[in-house]
Amino acid sequence: MTEIEIEPEVSNIFSTNNTALYQCDRSESFILKFFEEHISFKIGELQAIRKKIRNIDLAQLFKSGTPDIEILNVPQCDRIFVLSILEILELKELFSGAFVMLELNSVIHREILRK
């Protein structure tokens, strides 16, 4: 984990207790830290995964009679994730926070840096 943080071209965009999202300026990609794992995404892929996570209906998971886990397929890392409700909550928080920061970064570039 520490290995990522010391690279100068990598910035932390947003973190929660067990997850974090980093941006690598050199490769123009994003690194998702999910517990002990790191998965790399291009921006389009990141948007796709964000949408999948946002579309997970928590109310449905809380209903009795259905399992309270969700299976998430992530094509970028050749495996599927089985997420608990707590993990889903954390990922939802991570992605909404991270995209606010990315959009804020866009505004800063547009209104200040490029001017």
């Binding site: 941006q23 123009e28 921006i43 389009g44 948007q47 990315l102 970064n105 866009s106 800063i108 547009r110």
Partner: protein, 175 residues
Amino acid sequence: MKDILRRHQILREEIVNILNKQVQIEAQSAANYLAMAAWCDVRGYDNSAEFYFKQSDEERKHQLKLFHYLADMECDAISPAIEEPQHEFTTLRSVFERALEMEIAVTDAIHNVVRECRKHGDIATEEFMRWYVQEQIEEEYVARRCLELFDVLGEDKIALGMFEERVLGIEYEGD
């Protein structure tokens, strides 16, 4: 920190969604016109069949143009699911009636895309959509002219023959 969102010209999610919806509508139109072509073909209305085969090709092109735009913008273009088209019609005129209804619905959808672009200040996509706005003016014009021809000629056997002779010549002559 680089502005990766902007560097990759990423469209807003709302715009991606409505463009994908439009991809579906164009694909559905292509399928619907193909069904109309088949109906005309088996009943011996060869020129009307050709008219709809061409129309179906056009819709497919409309679909692909949107599809490529999404892909060029590094956004997810979705190959859409199509509903079963209407295969049964009562008369040749009713096929053309249905076609006009379809085109009006497509125009409304295109206008909604433009409105969504304006709402989000997406000037580039709005500009891209101008071609579709213009195209719909032509499509509606042609569909209306076909129906006017029925009004003028009537619908007996001779009239339908005359309609067949004229249908491939109906064009929009703008400017």
